[in-house]
């Protein structure tokens, strides 16, 4: 529906006159801009617009005229309007000049960005420690007076973090156990040491893969949901609402999630250990043709209780980290919907990073120090 712009340029006396006709709507703006640029007044001269015969003038056309007026001014010339039609006069009167075209705020340079990141990181670190301390004290207070615990919320959280994750944690760790057994059998068979698949699967599941896989799954499932839920509450002022009702968000939100993580992650880890070993057991019995009682005996005799317990200790520490990181990112959200998504992603990345680092630290601690 683009119609050609109808115009006529006449040079008379000291300046030129540009006579425009027809409707000046956004579909002719590109052409109008070109025509105005061609007729742009040189330094010291004037271009007069004759708008006597124009019809509708919309905001895009007004904006185009204003832009040309500005650039004419900057070039030392002058753009002005002569006779106006009624609708042109109305349109030009209707719109008031906005703020002079200001500069968009500049994005920070490298040094400023680095400084911002550093200061922001420091502030976030302090906020995290504050949250961890508040939560710890709140949990200790609840331990002293268990009647203060919101049982309903705790059970709800336990269901969410624990029982709803049984299927996926069980399946994944079963497959991991299966894989470890297959991979090690391939090597160990060459030495006629296939029976040691039992040792390898058992110990690596219980000490390492069980707690680790379980924690990563919980971080992806429940850590993200904690962050997203708390962040949404923060954005929609629900947290402020809790505060005003005299409910401490730490007591109300952090404690049930923290306690539920403390209880559920070790339980899930125990399940993960068991199913991982089952995966190895199936490979040993059906693929390597080892007698089931021999395999089981070998597997159990290769482990000491400490192997299992150290895995559970690790898993509790993982659970605490996942809960605190999720809460931290949730509480830190400012702004709207897009921030909720960003913070949720950031919380999962941070949780998994934390889990790997903590796992490393625990390994060193358990092997070297103890």
């Amino acid at each position: 529906m683009t119609r050609p712009l109808d115009y006529e340029l006449a040079a008379d006396g000291p300046g030129a006159t540009l006579r425009l006709r027809g409707d000046l709507r956004r579909d002719v703006v590109n052409e109008l801009k070109k025509v105005l640029a061609q007729a742009a007044p040189a330094r010291g001269s004037t271009l007069t617009l004759d708008l006597k015969e124009v019809g509708v003038v919309d905001s895009a056309a007004v904006a185009t005229l204003l832009n040309s007026w500005r650039s004419a001014d900057a070039a030392g010339g002058r753009l002005t309007v002569g006779p106006l039609s009624e609708s042109a006069e109305r349109a030009l009167q209707m719109f008031r000049l906005g703020a002079p075209p200001g500069d968009a705020p500049k994005p920070p340079n490298v040094a400023e960005a680095a400084g911002d990141a550093l200061l922001g990181g420091k502030e976030a670190g302090i906020a995290f420690l504050q949250l961890a301390a508040d939560t710890t004290f709140a949990v200790l207070a609840v331990l002293r007076r268990p009647s203060k615990l919101r049982w309903y919320h705790l059970i709800e959280q336990c269901t969410d973090i624990g029982s709803r994750a049984l299927g996926i944690v069980g399946l994944i760790t079963f497959l991991v156990g299966l894989t470890i057994a297959f991979q090690s059998a391939y090597q160990l068979q060459q030495f006629g040491a296939a029976i040691y698949v039992a040792n390898l699967t058992g110990v690596s599941m219980v000490r390492e893969m069980g707690p680790l896989m379980c924690a990563i799954l919980v971080a992806g499932r429940s850590g993200s949901s904690i962050a997203a839920e708390v962040a949404t509450m923060q954005v929609s002022e629900e947290i402020d609402g809790l505060r005003v009702m005299g409910l401490d968000p730490i007591d109300f939100l952090a404690v049930p999630r923290f306690v539920a993580m403390t209880l559920m992650v070790p339980l899930l880890t125990a399940l993960a250990d068991l199913l991982g070993m089952l995966g190895g057991f199936l490979v040993g019995v059906f693929y390597l043709d080892i007698a089931w009682n021999a395999f089981l005996n070998q597997m159990l005799s290769s482990m000491v209780p400490w192997d299992f317990i150290s895995g559970l200790i690790k898993s509790v520490a993982f659970g605490w980290g996942i809960a605190l990181i999720g809460l931290h990112y949730g509480f830190r959200v400012r702004g709207g919907a897009s921030e909720v998504g960003r913070m949720t992603t950031a919380s999962v990345v941070a949780s998994i990073f934390y889990i790997i680092v903590a796992d490393c630290v625990f390994s060193v601690l358990f092997y070297v120090v103890l």
């Binding site: 905001s59 895009a60 904006a63 703020a99 705020p105 702004g335 709207g336 897009s338």
Partner: protein, 264 residues
């Protein structure tokens, strides 16, 4: 169809599942008038608005927007029709990740081939129109409620619509800000000759801006005409609305005191 009719709704029925919200509603809006849809909560005001702007399919009836029957239209045609109307949502519906200026530039960028410098200038003109020139680079979350509504109005005006819908423009605003917004709407009407449809239940606002009003109750139009005509309708609910009497209050369940006094 007369050229001065911007919106014509005829016999619209709307349902959510089993519940029928609109039971045959007629409404015409002329160019250059502010038409107020009023009624108590849950009377179907917002549903009617949704039917008009294509967010809800009416189960029966027709909606003619700017002379074109929207109910019998392909999705692509509908989109190009909707470009010519503006909607100001109750909570602004500004995109939280974009600064105000970009929110207003969005429809211009998506629906026109205007050059960048013209888009920037249009954005500044629209911001000046709603007196938000200083807010071009601020995020919606950095604005107050009234400013956010004005920014939403500027965005609704971005493409110079012929027809503007406003959902509860003054809800949640203080009387002064709400009055300023009313004046702004009237100025839009006078300057641009737009048709403006306002859904509201704020009495002060209605009295100031309404050229004509239509009152809904339980899915029916119970009054239609100038404000005076609507005000003096015989329908008890219309009367109660303008006299600010809670119709159901005295007939409700008995109070605790009554119960205790009268014995079980």
């Amino acid at each position: 169809m007369a050229d001065d009719v911007a919106l014509e709704v005829h016999g619209v029925v709307a349902r959510y599942g089993e519940r029928t919200i609109l039971k045959g509603v007629d409404l015409t809006v002329k160019r250059g008038e502010v038409r107020v849809i009023l009624g108590g909560s849950g009377c179907g005001k917002s549903t009617l608005l949704k039917c008009c702007i294509g967010l809800k399919e009416p189960a029966a009836g027709t909606v003619r927007l700017l002379g074109e029957d929207m109910t019998a239209m392909s999705a692509a045609d509908r989109t190009s029709l909707l470009i010519n109307i503006g909607v100001m949502f109750q909570y602004g519906a500004l995109l939280g990740s974009l600064p105000i200026g970009e929110n207003i530039a969005l429809p211009l960028r998506e629906h026109t081939d205007l050059p960048e410098d013209v888009i920037r200038e249009v954005v500044r003109l629209k911001l000046a129109l709603v007196e938000l020139s200083h807010a071009e680079y601020l995020l919606p979350s950095e604005l107050s409620g009234g400013m956010r509504k004005r920014a939403a109005l500027a965005r609704a005006m971005a493409l110079d619509p012929d027809l503007l819908f406003c959902d509860e423009p003054s809800a949640g605003l203080d009387p002064l800000t709400s009055a300023e917004l009313d004046e702004l709407l009237l100025r839009m009407r006078d300057r641009f000759g737009m048709a403006i449809v306002v859904v509201t239940h704020e009495l002060h606002s209605i009295e100031r801006i309404a050229d004509r009003a239509v009152m809904l109750s339980q899915g029916h139009v119970i009054a239609d005409g100038t404000l005076d005509e609507v005000r003096h309708t015989d329908h008890p609910e219309a009367k109660a609305f303008f006299e600010r009497q809670a119709a159901g209050e005295m007939r409700g369940p008995q109070s605790a005191l009554q119960a205790l006094r009268s014995g079980a």
